[in-house]
Amino acid sequence: MLIFSLGVSVVFAVLMRDEPRDQLRLGARLFAGFVGVGLLMGWLLYPLPL
């Protein structure tokens, strides 16, 4: 999940921003968002039976 989030965040950030500083900021926010939502969804779905 971390590798996937990192790859997608980097590509999105570079696509959506032109300045390296903005790219870094957006990439960090996207990465944190992906990982955070991934963990949250994992916990929310945990009680559900397969």
């Binding site: 590798i3 996937f4 790859g7 997608v8 980097v10 590509v11 570079v14 696509l15």
Partner: protein, 131 residues
């Protein structure tokens, strides 16, 4: 902001040609347009994600019109361009359904292709002066 020196220098090149290059080699469109930093990132990241997906025993889906979801996955796989064609030629991407990492591999391969489609669209926007 189309008024960059790189944008002006590359104006005679057809945007469709740029898109074709960007599809075949991820990042090539941006490199052609003089966007070196973006081009290198787009060359490395989707290609590595694609290779990682194959390493995780993901599958390159076949074009099966009778199975719409499989056909869509095949289209997404194809989005990465040359790496897909090379993997096909080398017999990679058979996928092993019983592998623990099979679905993770599929996700990496599919998303790498879709990311490159976004990169191609961005190259088109850049080539036509929309960005």
């Amino acid at each position: 902001m189309p008024a960059t020196a790189a944008g002006r220098a590359q104006a005679p090149v057809s945007p469709l040609l740029i898109c074709l290059a960007a599809w075949i080699v991820p990042g090539a469109g941006h490199l052609w347009l003089g966007r070196r930093q973006k081009g290198l990132v787009f060359l490395l990241v989707p290609t590595l994600m694609f290779a990682f997906g194959l390493w995780l025993e993901g599958r390159l889906f076949p074009f099966e019109p009778s199975q719409p979801l499989v056909a869509l996955a095949a289209l997404a796989d194809l989005g990465i361009g040359l790496p897909y064609l090379l993997a096909r030629a080398l017999g990679a991407g058979a996928g092993r359904v019983v592998a623990l990492t099979y679905e993770y591999g599929n996700t990496f391969v599919i998303v790498a292709g879709l990311l490159n489609v976004l990169v191609v669209l961005d190259a088109f926007d850049t080539a036509t002066g929309r960005k």
